[in-house]
């Protein structure tokens, strides 16, 4: 296997997606990896490791290599990528030396955090690396032609970060990031349950609550569900009953911050592009755009039409397909290649 490979990686806080040229998306699972503490051997990665969160004995360490959109554990991130590539496509470091790789990252990350991503690829023996912003890739992956003289506003609410950016002529005009997104909401939910019911719930449970009960509609249908956790006072397992309205009250402040961010970006947008955005609306990507009623919620406050793309979870990885063709160059329109 000496042909030149193209590899697109969406290394998200919540999910890792790997795109391989000519193959499509070869991996789409949570970015979690579990090690054996003693031998350092990998016990599980992706979905299997995600199920282990908060449930392991002292022999296993479950690690999330990313925090708030950036790599926090280099060793684990490398292990995860190597494992995935080896497992799914049987690619070893030897095959990878001739690979071109694009890694997507949040918009506002520091130089150091960007360098860490390049470093990661270098550690895997990939020398030809470039970094692109997630919103650009996301817009491409959603099938939007960003190479026209038309302003596009993309909001990507992922696991660790929320990115808001304006694209025109194939590149980013301006973009902003806050480190509040899916995982932050999970934390808020678990804090809320702890505060109001004195019950501690695990990471998996709070994520499930968000998915099952998160609803931003004004008059959402009231759904009540039972979740289990540990009583803080007595220490024994306990059921808690939660309703949609409770969860909405917890997650709306986060969405209000996101709306503030969108407003801030819109304020700085050149007027000509504003006009385009007003006409064509906002594109929503990322896992959190799956929360019910999000379109109406943002629309009502920003007064601009909002549309969730057809593939919010995979669009960033799919977009790398085009970025690999033009290496992120705005002059080359990969859609016409």
């Amino acid at each position: 296997m000496n042909e030149k490979l193209g590899l697109g990686i969406d290394l998200g806080t919540a999910n890792l997606l790997v795109f391989l040229e000519r193959k499509g998306i070869i991996f789409n699972e949570p970015s979690v990896i579990a090690f054996d503490r003693e031998s350092g051997r990998i016990v599980a990665a992706g979905e299997d490791a995600h199920k282990m969160l908060g449930k392991v004995h002292s022999k296993i360490a479950v690690v999330k290599p990313l925090r708030n959109g950036v790599i926090s554990d280099m060793r684990a991130a490398k292990a995860l990528l190597t494992y995935v590539l080896g497992k799914v496509e049987n690619l070893t470091e030897k095959n990878l030396s001739k690979t071109t790789c694009v890694i997507c990252c949040p918009s506002e990350v520091t130089k150091i955090e960007r360098d860490v991503m390049i470093d990661l690829a270098a550690k895997m023996n990939i020398m030809d690396v470039f970094i692109e912003e997630e919103i650009k890739s996301g817009a491409l992956g959603a099938g939007v032609d960003i190479f026209k003289s038309k302003g596009i506003l993309v909001v990507d609410i992922g696991g660790g970060t929320t990115d808001v950016g304006v694209l025109s002529f194939g590149d980013i005009v301006l973009s902003r990031t806050i480190r509040k997104a899916g995982s932050f909401m999970d934390d808020e939910i678990s804090k809320y349950v702890k505060k109001t019911q004195s019950v501690e719930i695990g990471e998996l449970t709070s994520e499930r609550i968000k998915i099952e009960l998160g609803d931003l509609h004004d008059h959402a249908k009231v759904v009540t569900n039972k979740y289990a956790g540990r009583d803080m006072v007595k220490g024994i397992p306990k059921w808690v009953t939660l309703t949609t309205s409770e969860i909405s009250s917890v997650i709306t402040p986060v969405f209000d911050e996101i709306i503030k961010l969108i407003s801030a970006v819109l304020k700085d947008t050149p007027p000509e592009l504003s006009a385009d955005i007003y006409q064509h609306g906002i594109l929503l990507t990322g896992g959190c755009s799956l929360i019910r009623g999000i379109e109406q919620y943002i629309e009502k406050r920003i007064q601009v039409p909002v549309k969730v793309v057809h593939n919010p979870l995979t669009c960033v990885a799919e977009g790398t397909k085009y970025l690999l063709k033009n290496r992120g160059d705005y002059l080359v329109n990969p859609l016409q290649l």
Binding site: K55, H57, T205
Partner: protein, 349 residues
Amino acid sequence: MAIAIGKKGKEQTSSLGKNIGIDLGTANILVYVEGEGIITNEPSVIAFDYETNEVIATGQMAADMIGKGHHGIKIVSPLNQGVISDMEATKKLIEISLHKVENINIDISQSTLLLCCPSEVTQLERDSFMSLGSKLGVKDVFIEQEVKAGAIGSGLDIFSSNGSMIIDIGGGSTDIGVLSLGDIVVSESNRIAGNYLDNEIMNHMQYVHGLLVGKKTAERIKIEIGSLREQIDNPRETYANGRDVVTGLPRKIMVNELEIRDVLARPFETIATMVLKVLQNTPAELSADIIVNGIYISGGGAMIDGVDEFLHKRVGMDFHISRRPMTAVVDGTKLLLKNRGSYFVKPTD
């Protein structure tokens, strides 16, 4: 002729090394041999001749002698509170147990031996299990915790990420463990178990009725009328024979279920507290699994009437009695022998 002998010898060595799992309990010893099933399930008691140090009886026969021996017989329970207290006697007991069934021909030195021990034993006590293996001449010995084997033997899938909890109330120790992904997450062990309950009954008989009863009688009372139910409509009764503390004469009295329940309630109160303590140390995500799956009880203590009801009242979770509480641990060794206790490998039956 010479060739024939050589061939026979070769066949023997290949067939003699077996996987052996032993639940070496304070009260009972259970031995599982691969391909044969459970070959021994008897009290861990052994009787020696005082002078020659020869073994007179083991298992049930030796247990029948408890409190009835004369000067010439030394009756030993080689385990005390879950750990080995008499190495030589333990060794003898295992050797004899392995050869209880006549048609089995096992070469123990070539076998793999799995010994089960309580969860909270000291390193020293653990080492004594290991050295027992080497004393028996087995090179391949490994030790697993009883709760792990007990959980598997109770039919729980401990290799999934779904957490499970088990209480093993044995003869010498009560072990409580939360398991997930093939190993123990939280465990707790104390020495309030079957033997302790017998002692409590003996004390009760002495202080309340002025009657000295033997260990065996106390155990029989526990088995016959032991109960933990709150509501007892027709209390069962049984006799207790013993020696009067004051007069020194033999005496027989009747004891009823209510009285024994009050004796047993206190130690079980402690076990309930232990369950709470383990639950307090359990990660929240596993707590969520336990509230759904309930808690399993295995070991001889699970046979006491109403133990699930009693614990449910105090802890609030659902409690289930394991299908075969007495053999759960040794049943579990069957599976553990296959993967050598590694959480990596999920043994399939």
